[in-house]
């Protein structure tokens, strides 16, 4: 029997399927009081179109774990930061060919490594990529394009 927290934590991001909402750092809290579940989430970006699907998936996951009385609250403060992506989440992003963001304190000094061949010889093609949270890069060594989760 999984707890409701475990069930909700396992919900996957609908646009980056390899990572869960807990690993992405957008799941802020899960409380259970007298059978009533309150889940608190925060968006990565203000206009993130995945939020509605994430809310539905949370309610469905709680339902599957045996909880039907579920509220999903959205909070904005503290604003989400890529620093909240867990180490496990970063490893999963990299394994899927998506370069994880650098920590904010180091963002200006580290070069971006190609998640495919590991070369630091990379260039940014566009600050905006396939989703609001990513930018588009190219590796000069293996010539492959890749996404980078933007540090914010």
């Amino acid at each position: 029997m999984v707890t409701v927290r475990e069930a909700v934590s396992a919900v996957r991001d609908p646009e980056i399927r390899v990572i869960t909402i807990a690993e992405l750092g957008i799941l802020r809290d899960v409380t259970l009081v007298d059978g009533h579940v309150t889940v608190t989430i925060t968006p990565t970006y203000s206009g993130c179109p995945a939020m509605d699907v994430i809310r539905q998936d949370i309610v469905a996951a709680a339902h599957d774990a045996g909880y039907d009385d579920v509220d999903v609250r959205t909070v904005l403060a503290e604003p989400w930061s890529t620093d909240w992506i867990s180490d496990e989440g970063r490893a999963k992003l990299a394994a899927a060919g998506i370069a994880p963001p650098s920590k904010r304190a180091a963002a200006l000094t580290l070069s971006v490594r190609c998640p495919l061949c590991g070369s630091p010889d990379t260039e940014q093609l566009s600050r905006f990529g396939s989703t609001a949270c990513k930018s588009l890069w190219r590796c000069r060594a293996c010539r492959e394009p890749f996404d980078l989760v933007k540090t914010i």
Binding site: G47, L76, A77, P79, S126, F128, A132, L136
Partner: protein
């Protein structure tokens, strides 16, 4: 809460909403695919902030209007956005000039609001300022690339800056007035790097915050609102 708060939040929400709609018009028409994605992403950021601000404005007003009521069921004279955001996209240089002037302003404004006394507004602004930093970078990059580019791109970027400049004064009407100094510092830096000349201040159209708009807004609203007006309450 006073009416002043409703009008102010509505104005900020309308700026973001109308900017989003204009930027969205580039979708599938931008000069290159990366730019198409960039402008759509910036539009999406603006739309996200607009939704949160309009929802809050509706609550401040207390008459039960939600974000959709405010976006889709008001006529042009009821919109409170500055005229800068409603102006036609023009060529790519005009779009970049508009985006540069707007996003530098929004970044300064959100930065101030993020530490303001209204916790709801502070939450929205704290989120939005991180995104607007990317909008500033993106539009500044293009202003420099075009301004400090070929004779043709320089001439068109300068023409765009000249055409849009008068509309920037309205951004600093009322409570945002103290921000113009910092705004000029930032904009001057970009213009200098782009080898562009800052136009002289002169004609300063305004009135958007009181519902006085250009003809361009009416056409934009016709496009944006037609579905909701034809099928009230339609959902996906």
């Amino acid at each position: 809460m006073s009416d002043g708060d409703f009008e102010r939040v509505l104005g900020l929400g309308d700026d973001a909403l109308i900017a989003a709609q204009r930027l969205g018009e580039w979708c599938s028409r931008a000069p290159e695919m990366e730019e198409d994605i960039a402008l759509a992403n910036i539009a999406l950021d603006q739309l996200g902030v607009a939704r949160m601000l309009l929802t809050y404005a509706g609550e401040l007003e207390g008459r039960g209007r939600d974000e959709d009521d405010l976006a889709f069921l008001r006529d042009d004279r009821e919109f409170r956005n500055v005229q800068l955001v409603e102006l036609d996209n023009g060529d790519f240089a005009v779009t970049m000039a508009k985006l540069l002037f707007l996003s530098v302003y929004q970044h300064l404004l959100y930065d101030a609001l993020a530490s303001g006394i209204d916790p709801r507004l502070a939450g929205i602004a704290g989120k939005a300022r991180k995104e607007s930093a990317y909008h500033v970078d993106h539009s500044a990059l293009w202003a420099v690339r075009l301004g400090d580019g070929t004779a043709q791109s320089h001439a068109r970027m300068q023409a765009a800056v000249d055409a849009v400049w008068p509309y920037t004064h309205e951004l600093f009407e009322g409570q945002a007035a103290p921000l113009r100094g910092q705004w000029l510092v930032h904009v001057d830096k970009v213009l200098a790097e782009a080898t562009l000349t800052r136009p002289a201040d002169g004609w300063a159209p305004g009135g958007g915050r009181r519902g006085v708009h250009t003809e361009a807004l009416s056409r934009l609203l016709a496009d944006m609102q037609v579905l909701h007006r034809a099928h009230p309450g339609a959902t996906w």
